[in-house]
């Protein structure tokens, strides 16, 4: 079944307008503009159960329902393509394969929300994706799918690309807006939310690349069909899962939401590499608490993963084999978050380096029972005390470490060395 977003993905090539149209491309836009009112599309997306694919997993339809569609004046749609969560490369894969998937989704979303200008915020490293999008936008403009009076209707929409210059915090929606405005991309305090006061202080809708690329499929297939694609009762749609780490087969693959973790690892990832055993994974990118082999039956969907105290995140599965020291892995993650902290608020700017310091000490074999308590205290004191979710995300794996690998931390302290280090 399950290829919607990846239906035109052919290794080594990019599908542009002709190829995209050959498999039904832009029929969703035709249907939306000719047969549906904006309100009908908003209702449809809400009924489909689509949830944000960028990490937070908020209901897309609900987010759209908060948008002040009837407010006069400028309103913006911003597509978040600052994919930088370690373990995540789905937006890159999609844009390298089939950029019109995103363009069509954006134009329908803009029509549904009465928006006439859109920006795609794209990370610096994705130069191929950018070139593809530039070509796709030009093609769409020449074909009357972007610009004035799209498909001869009275709907007009312009789509622009903003290239960034590399910082993880730009994926945070308000940091992104500051970056797009040409300011230092520190996050803003909320409220006001971007739907009220976003880009250039105007109402702004922000959605992830993958989220928007689902819209035309929902318009064509309907809400019931879309929610039926998932393998869980409450889930909806497919997901671009990214497989990395200690797997035999790494890569990005589109599968129904709700596929059990074990199936994803064994069947699609080809199992753990080098005939080793599965020890742990980050189920949805660097900021999601670990799972272990005990969780192989857990469906990879928003609610079931929350039930085991982690998150689907971006769908970036990072697997660790049984020779991995989880203290060292967590330390690597904390160094990433500490370096990428924008420095705006103290618990993040100063707290994350302290987490690194404690983990370094434990990994070196110099940790004490007090250090373990300090680590718990840091998690407690950092969580919920920052403007944005960067530090909260950073504490995800530390929380997972403390819950699933406490004994490994204790062993480091008792032995006075890393029990997994060879020689």
């Amino acid at each position: 079944m399950s290829n919607l977003l990846f239906k035109n993905r052919h290794p080594g090539t990019t599908t542009f307008l002709d190829g995209y149209r050959n498999t039904g491309g832009y029929q969703g836009l035709e249907k939306a503009l000719r047969e549906m009112t904006p309100a009908e599309i908003r209702d449809l997306v809400k009924a489909s159960g689509l949830r944000g694919r960028g990490g937070a997993g908020f209901s897309t339809g609900l987010k759209w329902s908060f948008f002040p569609v009837d407010m006069p004046g400028d309103k913006y749609l911003v597509c978040n393509g600052d994919e930088m969560e370690p373990g995540t490369f789905k937006d890159r894969t999609l844009l390298e394969a089939d950029p019109h998937q995103l363009v069509e989704g954006i134009v329908i979303a803009a029509y549904a929300l009465h928006i006439s200008t859109g920006f795609i915020f794209l990370r610096h490293a994705y130069s191929q994706a950018r070139a593809n999008l530039e070509r796709a936008i030009t093609e769409a403009r020449e074909a009357g799918l972007i610009g004035r009076n799209i498909l001869g209707t009275d709907f007009s929409f312009e789509l622009l690309i903003h290239g960034s210059a590399g910082r993880y915090i730009c994926g945070e929606e308000t940091g992104l807006l500051n970056g797009l405005e040409g300011k230092r991309p520190n996050p803003r305090s909320k409220p006001p939310f971007p739907a009220v006061k976003g880009l250039f202080a105007k109402p702004t809708l922000l959605n992830n690349v993958e989220t928007l690329a689902n819209v035309q499929h929902i318009v064509i297939g309907g809400a019931e069909w879309f929610s039926g694609l998932a393998r869980t009762e409450e889930g909806a749609g497919t997901k671009l899962f990214c497989l990395s780490g200690h797997l035999n087969r790494t890569g990005c693959i589109e599968l129904p939401l709700g596929i059990p973790l074990g199936e994803l690892v064994e069947e699609h990832g080809g199992g753990v590499w080098q005939d080793r055993r599965f020890k742990a994974c980050l189920p949805g990118g660097a900021s999601t608490p670990y799972l272990t082999a005990e969780h192989f039956d857990t469906p990879m969907d928003y609610a079931p993963l929350e039930a085991v105290k982690t998150r689907l995140g971006t769908g970036g599965l990072v697997v660790f084999d049984d020779r991995t020291c989880m203290v060292a892995a967590t330390l690597n993650l904390q160094r990433f978050f500490a370096r990428e902290s924008c420095g705006w608020c103290t618990p993040c700017r100063d707290g994350l380096p302290m987490v690194c310091w404690v983990l370094e000490k434990i990994e070196r074999g110099e940790g004490t029972a007090e250090d373990l308590e300090m680590l718990r205290g840091l998690v407690k004191n950092i969580n919920g005390r920052t403007f944005c979710a960067l530090a909260l995300g950073a504490m995800g794996p530390v929380d997972g470490l403390l819950r699933h690998f406490e004994q490994e931390l204790v062993d480091h302290i008792k032995l006075g060395r890393c029990p997994l280090k060879q020689g």
């Binding site: 210059a165 040409g182 230092r184 790494t250």
Partner: protein
Amino acid sequence: MTTLLPQEEIADLQQRIAAAHEPREMIVDILLAIQARHRWVSDEGIELTADLLGLSPLQVEEVATFYDKVYRRPVGEKVIHVCDSICCWSRGSEAVYRHLQQRLAIAPGETTADGLFTLLPTCCLGACDLGPAMRIGTRLYGNLTPEKVDEILARERGEKQP
């Protein structure tokens, strides 16, 4: 100051600034345009950007120093960014990074004596399936091993930056 970019390029940027929703939105594009010609953005580059956008140099500086792909210090002809995030780490990026430092005889942040390579770490390149990965200029290299790094360095030494 205007010698930093050719007159035609300044005119082109001015046109794009005039067409932008807000001039300031163009700040990263201008910084990267200067960098494309000079490899890095000098104080004069900050002043030129400020001038073009009607901002103070400080307003430009706080943006320029924020992004890690805007270089505020001189770099070599080719900048090597080695991913040190979790997926690449899990597949041996530390050994690759050490090997690069040894082969180039520089520490992270330094430039080789011949001015060819600067070595820097980077966060996740979105190439987790190809880890360990690095970028040299805009070229991505994946599935790195120390042996493969030697081949890549030899090839990169043999050609000019595109």
